[in-house]
Symmetry: C2
Subunit: 408 residues, 2 copies
């Protein structure tokens, strides 16, 4: 049976770690799998190369950036293949263009268009372990492309689909947890989670896997096992909803402190005002997350939204300009906010989750500044100084007490 195993940058961050990773691969080979390895660049290498380029030009041509940074994975796969060969397991490394993984021509964030797997299949049949460069592809015109940050996950999932294989993602954590274990000591490893839940968690700042690769896996039903490079423990399976046996109302709690809130105070409440503000932000390629508009008082309202902290200053400047044009009173930026979210596929069919969440926050005297929801998630914006407290309290209420398990 085919198996795709992917190693992230820290898992191949030194020659010693490449050797440990190779041992994981050999273990799988000994279990009878035909293994295809996908590797990221050694930790730090991609950033080093980007910094070099930016020393020359803060905005280097993206085509050339792809040419440059794709060398990181190429070095890693060569060293990985040398290691496997040295350990007695014949291996051959392959760049994206050699597979080939064909993409569109949008440099630095290309989309996979198709994948040829004949060469990989031939290597497997000849007894080689193919070691494929993650993160990179090639256009029909033979231009090197890359798939965006975390793109090696996508490479692995795409190859797993093309080869009819499961996908193991080796990383520096033990799997996906019910909350960040650094903050919540009682956080538990989740053994099975649905694509939808994982996708929500990825967009809420859980950095286990690239969101786009989870979308792809969901679309094509690729079974993913996220696990640690540094232990033999089982990690977390990311699976179709119907394979996640235990459906709970709340699977996990996440805390995201990477956003800032911007409030436009006393805006004239008339049509087109929201458009003016968010059009200007969109034109500047700033992604807006939560948006709240208060009810109107005497023809005026307040409008708040959150953006990534790295965009906050620019967003503030843009909005300040728009505010003066539309006659708003003032613009206030608040960097001390945190977004706390509960995520769970069981929410679709269980009631009271929101009420319970608000109750927990209320009992701890934590004010809610904004709320946003999806079918399987509720997020509240709160003062960041209460972030960790809220995380622990919600984890205790929803997960440790285990009251809300809804079994099917």
């Amino acid at each position: 049976m085919n198996l795709v195993v992917k190693f992230g940058g820290t898992s191949v961050g030194s020659l010693e770690r490449i050797e440990s990773a190779a041992e994981k691969v050999i273990q799988k080979v000994k279990q009878g799998y035909k293994v295809v390895v996908v590797s990221s660049a050694m930790a730090g290498e991609t950033d080093r190369l980007i910094n070099l380029a930016k020393q020359i030009d803060p905005f280097p041509p993206e085509r050339e950036l792809d040419m440059l940074i794709s060398t990181g994975e190429q070095q890693a796969i060569a060293l990985f293949a040398i290691t496997l060969n040295k350990m007695g397991y014949p291996a051959k490394s392959l760049c994206g263009w050699q597979v080939p993984i064909i993409t569109d021509g949008v440099h630095t964030k290309a989309r996979v268009v198709k994948v040829g797997v004949q060469r990989i299949k031939n290597l497997l049949n000849e007894g080689y372990i193919p070691v494929v460069a993650g993160f990179q592809g090639v256009t029909e015109d033979w231009e090197i492309t890359t798939l965006g940050r975390g793109g090696s996950d996508l490479s692995a999932v795409v190859l797993a689909h093309a080869l009819g294989a499961d996908c193991e993602i080796y990383t520096d954590v033990e799997g996906v947890f019910t909350a960040d274990p650094r903050i919540v000591p009682n956080a538990k490893k989740i053994s099975r989670i649905s694509y939808e839940e994982m996708l929500e968690m990825a967009s809420l700042g859980a950095k286990v896997m690239q969101a786009r690769s989870i979308e792809f896996a969901m679309k094509y039903n690729v079974r993913i096992h996220v696990r640690s490079s540094f232990s033999d423990n089982d990690g977390t399976w990311i699976l179709p909803e119907e394979e996640v046996m235990e459906k709970v109302a709340v699977r996990a709690i996440t805390l995201d402190t990477k956003e800032s809130r911007i409030t436009v105070v006393r805006v004239p409440d008339k049509p087109g005002i929201a458009y003016s503000i968010f059009k200007a932000l969109g034109d500047a390629h700033i992604v807006v997350d939560m948006i709240v508009q208060n009810v109107s008082h005497q023809g005026y309202t307040d409008m708040s939204f959150t953006v990534n902290k790295t965009d906050a200053k620019i967003a503030e400047d843009i909005v300040r300009k728009v505010a003066s044009e539309i006659g708003a009173q003032e613009v206030v930026r608040d960097d001390n906010v945190a977004k706390i979210s509960v995520v769970g596929i069981g929410m679709k069919s269980s009631y009271g989750t929101a009420a319970k969440m608000f109750e927990v926050l209320y009992r701890n005297n934590i004010n809610i500044m904004a709320i946003s929801t999806s079918e399987i998630k509720i997020s509240c914006l709160i003062d960041s100084k209460y972030g960790e407290l809220a995380l622990r309290e919600l984890h205790s209420a929803f997960i440790e007490e285990d009251q809300d398990v809804v079994k099917y």
Copy 2:
């Protein structure tokens, strides 16, 4: 008119140097040339990568070594292209496989089989400066290959031929000199030299250009201009014999201290003895340079030969084994030898060069241990402690006195 300009590792050894190199390119563009850049890896990068591989395996699979080290040039061309773009000159980098430069499948020392130049021509016509990775190619089976040390010179010469262009080689010296200027202060830069002379000098240890690239240039009449990255001075043109106007008996004097002499003392003088010795060395892939066999005395003779110092110990051990089998008296290794050579195409048609060389050595009381000659070169093996003296004296006699200029 097309022009291929090639930059060596030191010429692109830092971002500042890449910028200087880019200025050279822009100067040529302003002169009206359609320029194709060929770049080596940044100085030190190839060695760094090889060392990484050898930490895993002293003899890594050569296919994987090519995969690994070809990233050095790929990084350099991307940075070079980013620099040219930043300076206002549109440029696109190309890997060997993108050109494509097609080679045979002998990894780490592949031979160029054919070159496609359509893509380069298209880029030139669209107003781009193509920046091509030196040193690397691709097989018909899409395997990455490299052309051996100094292979970027070959890439440049091959592309120059394919594009009907001259070839400028930018390096860290001002050109080819009549002798090593660090030893002979009066050494002069040679303005024109023939392929044959340059080839002899390359094989005598002058490291200006890779020998294989000069052979290729000679075969296809590619005009080469070797010059400094760090000045605007003219360098040395390497040209067909008929274009080298001034034909001198001696163009240059070289000193090579990288060889050792091994002497097999009192060998029985019978057929098959030389074969036994040199067969054993050949089997061990040891290249033998000068060979001298004395006249026989009472059925015994002495046999001497030189090998590269790095091979000397292994060669000695091999020969010692053979010597005991064939009944030789002893084997002596001498590391303190130097090969001094005079090179000049005019030697073909002028007389007395050898006699004059021997006279100069004799007048300085320098004993000759061995002699070897070609049509355009005479080499003498001497005690290494006289090496620099001999170089200066021969340079003075043959080049500074200028008595032997033979004009046509």
